[in-house]
């Protein structure tokens, strides 16, 4: 994504890639090639580092040797300071890729006796540039020139000349300066002669510091105009562009279990999609952490690695609590599948949390990450910053094919959906846990508010945290509304009582029918008997009649014989 972006912009304005994470994205490819860029910020805002990183990356990655002109720190100090970022200035210097020029100006040693120019500086720069064929130059910081000499008039003219001169030389320059009271820079001059101005802030918000970067101007190029939080981590500066990171990561249809069998069923039968973001929100005590732990437990059970960031509870506490509800996380910790990172949210600013997350994820390479909760991070920063951070985190995790589960504490009294509206759009699946209070009882309800790309249940389920783990139960939906807890049990008892009665009735009726059948059969047998008796009677009668006839005929014959028929 950044690469294609770069190519799109290249024909309009040549740019020098900074190699600084995020900065090339928001500048559309880097700093203006062959032109001066002003980086202004107060002491400790990271401007020297930004300038140095631009030079180091130029020297190492882009084959653009550079000269770093330092008015503040000498070569040794500078080398030591940046060594912690893994940059070896001595080696780069030996390879002829980067030279550090320390220029010492001490006002107490200088007496001004008339008009002068800064031609000496130009000669020094020229010499340094020629010696390594520099394409880049950094000057840190102009402020020293202004404080070293008294004549503002001369300095202004010379600074203008310097910028022009750098441009003529075709050097991509980074010049650092300090902010003034009203204007962006103390002398209100540098920003006008620069083609690009980057402002750095180190702002304290509710006692936690966050670094910010903003592109104030960029002649001839579009650029991100937001204030971007950035952090200084082991590899240097890392800027977190809120919107610019790509949304074109690979998606998968692979599903993974939620750790709760019936929740899997609710989510189309198979659970979450892998490499998506899941939000579990709810008021205090609704079981968010339990859902998270269940998810982690299931992941470890599959042999996957899980990373659990806890901003509220200590590792031991979570393990103990989960053991009480039938989940033993300890074996996973022991065999290295589960790693906890517990830190108070207020310990660091947002940037440090981010840095930590980046670092841990890169080190541990988990398949599953839990952040519990994100709402606590909001204690020290604004919702907007949280959103910025989260979108960055989510994109980062998705790109690494990691499934992330975030919990969020919502406060009672406010609309459940309203509080997370800032982050909900970033989430693929949103599970809401809520209290259902009725008849002097407080029960937990769970429903799936959204789940992208799957048919999911629209039902509220009762969420049970038992000694044997987590379970979801059907809630009783009756004329009086949703029934949970005791009310549900009572209702269920009533239903089962009715069931018993019904069963009894059936067996009674069955017995009755049986009896009727026996009765009927008896009667049929009787009738058969009667019929047989009748038949017998008739036969006897017929036999009798026949024998009578025979006797009659015999008698007639005998009578005829006796009368002597002639």
């Amino acid at each position: 994504m950044p690469k294609t972006k770069k190519k799109n912009v290249m024909p309009f304005l040549a740019k020098s890639p900074t190699g600084i994470q995020g900065l090339d994205e928001i500048t559309g490819g880097g700093l203006p090639r062959g032109r001066p860029t002003l980086v202004c910020g107060s002491a400790g805002s990271g401007k020297t580092l930004l300038a140095m990183e631009f030079m180091v990356h130029g020297a190492v990655q882009y084959d653009e040797p550079g000269v770093f002109v330092s008015f503040e720190e000498n070569e040794e100090d500078l080398k030591e300071n940046v060594a912690s970022f893994g940059w070896d200035l001595s080696a780069l210097s030996k390879q002829g890729k980067l030279s550090v020029e320390y220029i010492h100006i001490d006002r107490s040693e200088i007496e001004e006796t008339g008009e002068y120019t800064l031609e000496g500086l130009f000669i020094m720069l020229q010499d340094a540039i020629d010696s390594i064929g520099a394409k880049r130059i950094a000057i840190d910081t102009l402020e020293v020139l202004f404080t070293g000499f008294t004549s503002d008039l001369i300095m202004r003219a010379e600074i203008r000349r310097l910028f022009r001169w750098l441009k003529e030389k075709g050097l991509t320059a980074v010049i650092t300066g300090e902010p003034g009271g009203e204007s962006m820079t103390r002398h209100g001059l540098e920003e006008y002669v620069s083609d690009c101005v980057i402002q750095l802030h180190h702002r304290i918000h509710e006692e936690t510091a966050t670094r910010r970067l903003r592109i104030v101007k960029y002649r001839g190029s579009s650029h991100g105009t937001n204030e971007y939080p950035f952090l200084i981590e082991t590899g240097g500066i890392s800027i977190l562009p809120v919107t610019s990171i790509g949304l074109n990561y690979e998606v998968t249809t692979e599903r993974i279990s939620t750790g709760i069998a019936r929740l899997d069923t609710m989510l189309g039968g198979e659970g979450y999609y892998r490499a998506t973001s899941i939000l579990v929100s709810g008021t205090a005590g609704t079981g968010k952490s339990s859902v998270a732990a269940g998810f982690v437990n299931a992941a470890c059970g599959r042999g996957e690695k899980a990373l659990y960031f806890s901003f509220e509870e200590a590792q031991e506490q979570i393990v103990r609590n989960m053991r009480s509800i039938g989940m033993n996380l300890e074996p996973w910790i022991k065999n290295g599948l589960l790693r906890f990172r517990t830190e108070r949210a207020t310990t660091f600013g947002l940037e440090m949390h981010l840095a930590l997350l980046h670092k841990e994820v890169s080190d541990f390479e988990p398949q599953v990450v839990v952040i519990d909760p994100i709402s606590n991070l909001g204690a020290s920063v604004t919702a907007l910053e949280i959103k910025g951070m989260l979108s960055r985190v989510i994109d980062f995790l998705k790109m690494h094919h990691i499934t992330a589960l975030f919990t969020d504490l919502t406060h009672g009294g406010t609309a459940l959906e309203a509080t997370e509206s800032a982050v909900s759009s970033l989430m693929d699946t949103w599970i809401l846990l809520r209290d259902i209070e009725s008849q002097g009882e407080r029960n937990r309800g769970l429903y799936v508010l959204k789940s992208r790309g799957m048919a999911h249940s629209n039902q509220i389920r009762e969420f049970m945290i038992t000694e044997d783990g987590l379970d979801l139960l059907d809630v009783y939906v009756g004329p009086g509304g949703v029934l949970t807890g005791t009310a549900r049990i009572v209702r269920e008892a009533e239903e089962s009582a009715e069931e018993v009665i019904r069963k009894r009735e059936i067996s009674r009726r069955k017995r009755e029918l049986e009896r009727k059948k026996t009765l009927l059969e008896t009667r049929i047998a009787e009738l058969h008997e009667a019929h047989a008796a009748d038949e017998e009677e008739l036969q006897r009668f017929i036999d009798e009649a026949e024998s009578r006839q025979t006797v009659f005929q015999e008698t007639r014959k005998r009578m005829a014989q006796m009368r002597g028929r002639d």
Binding site: E101, I110, E111, T113, G114, Y116, E119, L121, I123, D127
Partner: protein
């Protein structure tokens, strides 16, 4: 080093004091003037320092004029940012006088030839 001869031994404390002041200001000055080519500023600086040296440091100064265009490495070596710059190498402390040396008062201060008021 000692250009001036003591004409007569010190007679009293007043003489001793004046001798001490004389000794202090009697060191040889080593001066280097860095210029860039033959710009008007360079030329004016050269003229100005020569005048001052002749007037205040006659016969006890060494002045070297260096064109940075010809010796660019010296700019870095001597840390010459502004030109013209006059560097007072000796006597210590080293001091840099920036500009075309037209403000005579300041030049004299810078060279410790006049006390600051």
């Amino acid at each position: 080093m000692e250009k001036r001869k003591a004409e007569h031994p010190p007679r009293d404390s007043r003489d001793a004091f004046e001798k001490a002041v004389q000794d202090q200001t009697s060191e040889t000055y080593v001066l280097r003037l860095f210029i860039t080519g033959t710009t008007p500023k360079s030329m004016r600086a050269i003229a100005n320092i020569k005048d001052i040296c002749e007037e205040h440091l006659k016969a006890r100064y060494k002045l070297e004029i260096i064109d940075l265009y010809q010796y660019p490495k010296l700019a870095k070596g001597e840390q010459i940012v502004a030109v013209p710059t006059l560097v007072k190498q000796l006597p210590k402390p080293i001091r840099k006088l920036v500009g075309e040396l037209s403000d005579k008062e300041k030049v004299l201060f810078g060279l410790d030839l006049k006390a600051r008021t």
